[in-house]
């Protein structure tokens, strides 16, 4: 409580810092050390631990330590064994058979079997998961010929499903616990029991969640950590300060704001990485309301797309964390061949001139004051960067004769405006294209996703027969080459019509203490189990 009381602690920090700077290259650094408590800043505090019911980012950062999925993924976005040790897809794509890892136990000691897989998919994920109804729409039954075999029967091939079997997207939960009672408000929602490397211990709301090492974890000798604590600190400045004083070891997604990342990066004990977000793949975009003038005219939309200088936005608003986007799919999909850059290119040096020319052609002449027309630009309410971005859009569109008024509301108001009332003209937005375009991308362009009241779907309300067909075919195409060709064509058509402006691929960053080793080991980053992560003493 007094200066004296704290003296040893500050000395220890000092000693630690000295050790880090002087002794780092020595010793066998790659030999994992056992023990220690990892403290992660998770922002905001998750509303619940029911990962089978919420895919909210902060939930995924904690639930994935307790629950596991059937598969994991590598950086090439290829499936890897997890709870399923092997799997086979029948030649017609209508049956998927998973062979489960033997001798896996839930944290309460009961065995994990194919009955849990059947229950998780058919009774939980398909029914109460925000995306599960879509991911498993083709699944008609999960058969359990023996305790270690689960057979998925499909009504049509579903190649996208195999990309959505991670612990974050499709957690496997125990039937003997969640099978009893109402799943929507289950007493164990916040007392999770899974098969993962860490056991849930307690959740002090507003403070922290504590997870202790699971000594009976199926992978021998793992996890390396004794304990994992997720802390909730509402203020961004304080989070950065706690990173500086080493009270927390890491923070990802937007826990540390870009402006502080630059500052912290320069410190000797801190490391920064943009890896580990490959399966989120968010794109920053400007959504048009394509049903009303002026943005019902493709030329006007293209003009706006030309007017935005992507590099300027990345460098000045997002402090360099990102790459220009070319179209509806993130370049992360290059890893499995679905992405193409051969589309109409709006990112050109003479964008403003081209935009002015297009607007003239569209008949939007400048008035005596140089203004062609006025619009209101809504800014997506997810933080300061979006305000800066809005100000940039205002300035830049001013150059092409569009007078912009800015509007910033809170999250529920904005969601209601954009996805229920469609009462907007141009709004900034960021959409995660997720693990497979069928899950992450189709929802923004398909005519069957124009659903008032459902968020993060087709709010621009643009669609064509041709693009709908391309997406329907890609859904069921099991030949990877043919599927890629369908997506290449889709990207060309969408970019040409420009129902939204594709600005840039947003890079999340994880800021972490250099004591943290073996991170990230998966494209799911903080959404992975962290069983191999260890802390240098």
């Amino acid at each position: 409580m007094t200066a004296l009381h704290c003296l040893p602690r500050s000395l220890m920090i000092l000693a630690g810092a000295l050790w880090l700077t002087t002794a780092q290259p020595a010793l066998a650094q790659d030999q994992p050390q056992k023990g220690g408590t990892l403290v992660i800043a998770v922002q905001p505090e998750p509303p619940t631990l029911a990962a089978y019911q919420s895919t909210a980012g902060p939930v995924g950062q904690v639930s994935t330590k307790v629950y596991e999925g059937l598969l994991e993924y590598d950086f090439q976005l290829k499936p890897r064994p997890s709870l399923a040790q092997s799997w086979t897809v029948s030649p017609d794509g209508m049956t998927v058979t998973f062979k489960l890892e033997p001798n896996v136990k839930f944290h309460d000691g009961k065995p994990f079997t194919s009955a849990d897989v059947q229950f998780s998919v058919m009774d939980v994920l398909k029914k109460v998961h925000p995306r599960g109804g879509n991911t498993f729409r083709a699944v008609t039954a999960v058969e359990t010929p023996d305790p270690l075999t689960a057979v998925f029967r499909l009504s049509e091939p579903a190649p996208y499903m195999m990309m959505a079997m991670s612990s974050y997207e499709s957690p496997m939960i125990p039937k003997h616990i969640f099978g009893i009672g109402d799943i929507a408000r289950h007493p164990n929602a916040n007392l999770p029991v899974g098969t993962g490397p860490f056991k849930f211990v307690e959740w002090q709301k507003g403070q922290y969640m504590r997870f202790d090492r699971n000594p009976d974890y199926r992978k021998k000798g793992l996890p390396h950590l004794d304990r994992l604590v997720a802390r909730f600190i509402a203020d961004a400045g304080t989070r950065s300060a706690a990173m500086e004083t080493q009270e927390i070891h890491m923070g990802g997604f937007s826990a540390i704001p870009p402006v502080d990342v630059k500052r912290l990066q320069a410190m000797p004990h801190i490391e920064v990485t943009a890896k580990g977000y490959e399966m989120q793949a968010p794109i920053v975009q400007l959504d048009f309301n394509t049903t009303k003038p002026p943005f019902d005219d493709v030329k006007v939309r293209q003009a706006v797309a030309y007017a935005i200088d992507r590099k300027f936005v990345i460098d000045n608003v997002w402090f360099g964390f990102g790459r220009p986007a070319t179209g509806p799919m993130n370049s992360n999909f290059k890893a499995n061949g679905l992405y193409t850059a051969e589309v109409k290119n709006y990112n050109v040096p003479d964008g403003v001139e081209r935009a002015n020319k297009l607007l003239d052609e569209a008949g939007k002449r400048r008035g005596p004051d140089g203004v062609r027309f006025e619009i209101i630009h809504d800014m997506t309410p997810y933080g300061e960067e979006w305000r800066r971005f809005g100000e940039y859009v205002q300035q830049q569109l001013g150059k092409i004769g569009i007078k912009v008024t800015l509007r910033y509301e809170d999250v529920p108001s904005w969601l209601r405006r954009v996805y229920t009332n469609y009462d907007f003209q141009l709004t900034s937005n960021w959409i995660q294209t997720l693990a497979d375009p069928s899950i992450g991308v189709h929802r923004l362009y398909h005519s069957n996703t124009i659903k008032p009241g459902t968020v993060f779907v087709n709010s621009s309300r643009w669609s064509t027969k041709e693009t709908d067909d391309l997406m329907d075919k890609a859904n069921v195409e099991i030949d990877p080459k043919k599927r890629a060709a369908l997506y290449h064509e889709l990207q060309k058509q969408v970019v040409e019509a420009s129902p939204l402006v594709f600005v840039h691929e947003l890079d999340f960053v994880t800021v972490y203490n250099k004591k943290v080793r073996n991170f990230p080991l998966s494209p799911l980053g903080l959404y992975s189990s962290l069983d191999q992560l260890w802390l240098a003493k």
């Binding site: 409580m1 200066a3 704290c6 602690r9 500050s10 920090i13 408590t37 905001p44 505090e45 509303p47 619940t48 919420s54 895919t55 909210a56 980012g57 109460v128 998961h129 925000p130 995306r131 109804g133 879509n134 929507a184 408000r185 289950h186 916040n190 002090q204 709301k205 507003g206 403070q207 922290y208 504590r210 304990r227 604590v229 802390r231 600190i233 509402a234 203020d235 400045g237 304080t238 300060a241 706690a242 500086e244 004083t245 009270e247 509301e409 809170d410 999250v411 529920p412 108001s413 969601l415 209601r416 997720l434 992450g440 929802r443 659903k451 009241g453 459902t454 968020v455 993060f456 779907v457």
Partner: protein
């Protein structure tokens, strides 16, 4: 005699408060309906995506598909049985959520009140006795400066100085999470974490009580009884000080009672900056999440708290000044 009198007085006051509370609840409920968007929008928004069936299912579970009047009626029915309802967002009964967050709030609030009223009374009466001398000017200047400093900025600056530069105090939280202390070590740990947030808030409220106390003491000085007492052989130091202080502290007490409400709300900033797990932060988050059940529950508890504290203040008056009758 006096005890039974205060007791019947308290009971009467409390029964009078019941209709007030009910009206406040109804008003809160209706005001909150003005905010666009609902809890289902937010939950689905956080999920990043959702199917239409999922959203319809959420709304019917939350009862959001019912007409407003019916929702209000159902809520009032619940509240009269002291059932605060269920927060679907947190998957917990509202009462449990509030109770868990109430004591950190009370701990912070009582510490701040005790510090700011106590120090305010001392500094204020000292300043009054050194009227217009350098001590008085220094106290006035410093307290007003502290009052004018934005709370979040003061908090962050204290963190920079005492946590980052000096390493004396932790930046945030209520406990050291890597250690999970028990027993006496836990109490010490919490007290250690309490210092910075309490100091930040006290700095803000101190000015108010200091100024009020100073003015109040000066007013008492001009009263006949003080002027007379000064001429008596006892002299100023002993006799007058006791009487003056007792009389002068009454307005400060009134102010403290009124401030409890403000303190409940005003600590949101401090709770945010120092990640102190109190009610203010919970209310703030539930507003943006449109978790109306929880928000109404917090409002209800705050209302009750303010009523009880004001009652205590009134009883406190009569203890300090027996001439004030409890009627």
């Amino acid at each position: 005699m006096a005890l039974t009198k205060s007791l019947t007085y308290a009971l009467r006051r409390l029964s009078q408060a019941v209709p007030t509370v009910l009206v406040i609840i109804a008003l809160n409920f209706l005001l909150l309906q003005l905010a666009p968007g609902d809890a289902a929008d937010v939950l689905a928004g956080e999920a990043g995506s959702a199917t239409p069936e999922f959203m319809a299912q959420l709304r019917s579970t939350f009862g959001l598909d019912q007409p407003i009047a019916l929702q209000l009626l159902l809520y009032m029915k619940q509240i009269v049985t002291f059932d605060l309802g269920y927060s679907f967002r947190h998957g917990m009964p509202v009462a449990d959520l509030i109770v868990a967050r109430l004591w950190p709030t009370l701990l912070l609030m009582i510490t701040v009140l005790a510090l700011s009223v106590g120090m305010g009374v001392l500094l204020g009466s000292f300043a009054a006795r050194k009227l217009n001398r350098w001590q008085d000017n220094l106290i006035s200047m410093l307290t007003v400066l502290a009052y004018a400093t934005p709370v979040f900025w003061a908090g962050l600056m204290l963190i920079v100085l005492f946590s980052i530069k000096l390493g004396w105090f932790p930046t945030s939280g209520m406990q050291q999470v890597a250690a999970f202390h028990e027993g006496a070590a836990k109490v010490r740990d919490i007290a250690h974490h309490l210092v910075l947030p309490a100091v930040t808030l006290t700095m803000f409220y101190l000015a108010l009580y200091t100024r009020l106390m100073r003015a109040s003491v000066l007013e008492q000085f001009s009263m006949d009884y003080v002027v007379t007492a000064r001429d008596l052989p006892l002299g100023e130091p002993l006799g007058a000080r006791r009487h003056v202080l007792r009389n002068a502290v009454l307005p400060v007490l009134t102010m403290a009672g009124v401030q409890v409400g403000a303190l409940l709300g005003g600590s949101v900033v401090v709770e945010t900056v120092f990640a102190w797990p109190g009610l203010g932060l919970l209310a703030y988050e539930s507003l943006f999440a449109r978790d109306l059940n929880l928000l109404l529950g917090i409002f209800f508890v705050s209302t009750c708290l303010v009523i009880v504290v004001n009652l205590l203040v009134d009883v406190g008056y009569s203890l300090l000044d027996p001439r004030i009758d409890l009627r």
